[in-house]
C-alpha cells in the first residue's frame, strides 16, 4: 500500500514536503507513491499522477491536502482496483492561516475575517527576512523550511482553534 498525496496547490505541496523531509509525519517518503508529493487536483487531469499510478500495480490511498476541497475526486475506471480510500486534510479558509498563526496574528485576523481573506491579510501584515508575503511557494519554503517545528506548532494550533466539517481531517492528524 502506498500513500498518494495530492495537494491542491504548490504551497500545500511545499508544506507537505517540509514535513516529510524532516521526518515529522507518520509515514516517510518511501511510503509515498513515486516517492513524491503531487500537486494535482484530479487524477483525470494530472498526467504526473496517472504516470505514477501506471508504474505501480499495488493499492493506493489518496490523501488530499487543500483548503476547502469541496470538489470530489472523479473516479477513473482504469485505477478503480488500485484506489482504496480518499481522505481530506483541510486548512480552511486558506493555507495562509498557518502563516497568520505563525506570526501570532490569529486574534487580529479573527476581528476582520468577515471582510478580509487570509491571503489578503497575510499580504498586508506578514513579512519574513525582509520579504513581504506575495502568495509564492518560495515564501513558504523560506518561512517554514528552516523552522519545521514552527510548522508543527502552527498545524497543532490550527487544529485546536478550528472545527472542520465531518469527514475533513487536519494535517496535524498526520503528525507523529
Amino acid at each position: 500500500m502506498k500513500e498518494l498525496i495530492m495537494c491542491e496547490g504548490p504551497n500545500e505541496k511545499a508544506v507537505m514536503d517540509i514535513l516529510i523531509d524532516n521526518g515529522l509525519l507518520v509515514f516517510d517518503r518511501d511510503d509515498l507513491l513515486g516517492l513524491a508529493v503531487y500537486h494535482a487536483r484530479q487524477i483525470k487531469t494530472s498526467g504526473q499522477v496517472r504516470n505514477a499510478l501506471d508504474m505501480y500495480s499495488g493499492q493506493v490511498e489518496i490523501l488530499r491536502v487543500g483548503d476547502k476541497l469541496s470538489d470530489e475526486i472523479k473516479k477513473i475506471k482504469a485505477y478503480e482496483r488500485q484506489l482504496m480510500s480518499i481522505r481530506k486534510y483541510c486548512t480552511k479558509p486558506e493555507l495562509e492561516i498557518l502563516l497568520i498563526i505563525g506570526e501570532k496574528l490569529l486574534s487580529s485576523f479573527e476581528k476582520v475575517k468577515s471582510k478580509v481573506k487570509p491571503k489578503d491579510f497575510s499580504k498586508q501584515k506578514i513579512q519574513y527576512n525582509g520579504v513581504k508575503y506575495r502568495n509564492q511557494t518560495d515564501f513558504y519554503k523560506m518561512y517554514f523550511g528552516l523552522r519545521p517545528k514552527l510548522l508543527v506548532q502552527c498545524l497543532k494550533a490550527y487544529k485546536s482553534s478550528h472545527r472542520n466539517k465531518s469527514g475533513e481531517l487536519y494535517i496535524a492528524d498526520l503528525l507523529k
Binding site: P10, G34, H39, K44, T45, S46, Q48, A52, D54
Partner: protein, 372 residues
Amino acid sequence: MRLLRVSADHFKNAKDGLTIDLVPQARKSDEDKQYEMNEIDSGLFVYSTGAFIGKNASGKTTALDLLDCAYSILGEYRLEGKHYSCEGTRLELFFYDKGYIYRYRTILDTRMNAMNRTQFGQQELVRKKYYSSYAAKIYDSEGFEAVDITGKLPKDTSIVFFVSDEQQTLAVYFSSSDNGADVYSHAFNILEAENLGIGILSKILFIFDENITELSRLDDHNFRIVYCGQESIKSDKELLYWLSSGTTKGMLLYMMMAASLTEGFDLLVDEIENHFHKTLVRNMIDLYRDKTVNRKGASLFFTTHYCEILDSFNRQDNIWITRSEGKVTAVSMREDHPIRRELLKSIQFYNNTFRTDINYDALMALKKELMA
C-alpha cells in the same frame, strides 16, 4: 545556454518552415509549471518533456535531427559526423543565454572541405535583453541588436562561438540504431566522465535484469560480470550476445539519462520504446518532471509509437504530430487538432483524430497478395 526555437528550410525531406518551438505558448497552469516545464529565467519556460508521434516514415526522426542540429551548433559551434545532410539548409535559431535572447541565422553548406565539416554561410547573430514583462514577445524582431563579432573564425565554426567561447554539451542524441559492442565501454565512459558513481550503474542494471548484481570494466573490451551469483569475465562481443538487447540498450540509455539529469543537458531519444516496456519510458518521463531529481532543468525529447505514453502529458503544445504528405511537417497537437484536456490522448490516436493511422488499404493489399 538554452535552445528556445529552431526553424529550417531545405532540411532533409522536411517542408520549408519546419519549426520546433520549445517555449510553451499556451496558458500555463501551476501544475504544468511544476511538471511539464523548466523555468530558465523569470517567466521564461521551456518544456521538461516533449514527444514526436506519427506513423512510420512520417518524419519523427527528421524533427529530432533538426533539434540535434541546433544543439550541436549552440554547444559545439560545429556540425560534424552527422548521419543526416544539411546541404543548403537555411536555419534560424532562438536561444537564451545569461539574460539575453539571441537569434541566429545561417545557411549551411556541406560541400566537402578538407575536414569534412559543414560550413556556415550568411551568418547573422543578434540579441536583446530578456525582460519577464516581455516573455510573450521573445521572438518579435523588435529590439534585437547585432552582437559584436570581435574576430575571424574558420568557415566550419559558427559565430555562436562569440556568445560563449567554451564548448558545452547541450544535448545528447540517442539513436534507434544498434550501438554494437561498444555500448558497454560507452556506458562506463559516461559513468566516469560524469562521476556518477557505481551505485547508479548497479541500480540501472537491476531494473533491466535482476540477475546481474555486478558489472565492472577490466579494460576497453573486457568486463567482469556477476550473474546469478556466478562471476565471469566476458568480452564486449560476448556480452552483446549474452545479455538481452533491452538490457544492453537500457543500460546505455539510462546512463545517458542519469548524466543528463545530473549535468542538466537535454536528451534526445529516437524511438524511445525500442526494446522497452512502457513502464520504463514512464519512469524516464517521471524523472525529468520531478524537480527533486531534475534539479538542473534538463529536458527529454523523444519520438515514439506508444500513444499511451502521451496520456501522461497534460499539455498539447509539447506533443508534435509528424506527417509526410510529400514533405515532412511537425505540428503541435495544440495547433493541429486541440482536444479537451480531460480526454485521453491515446484514445484520440486510436480514433485516428490526428490522421496517424497506418493505411488500412495498404495492409489489406498485402494480406490479399499473401492469400493469392
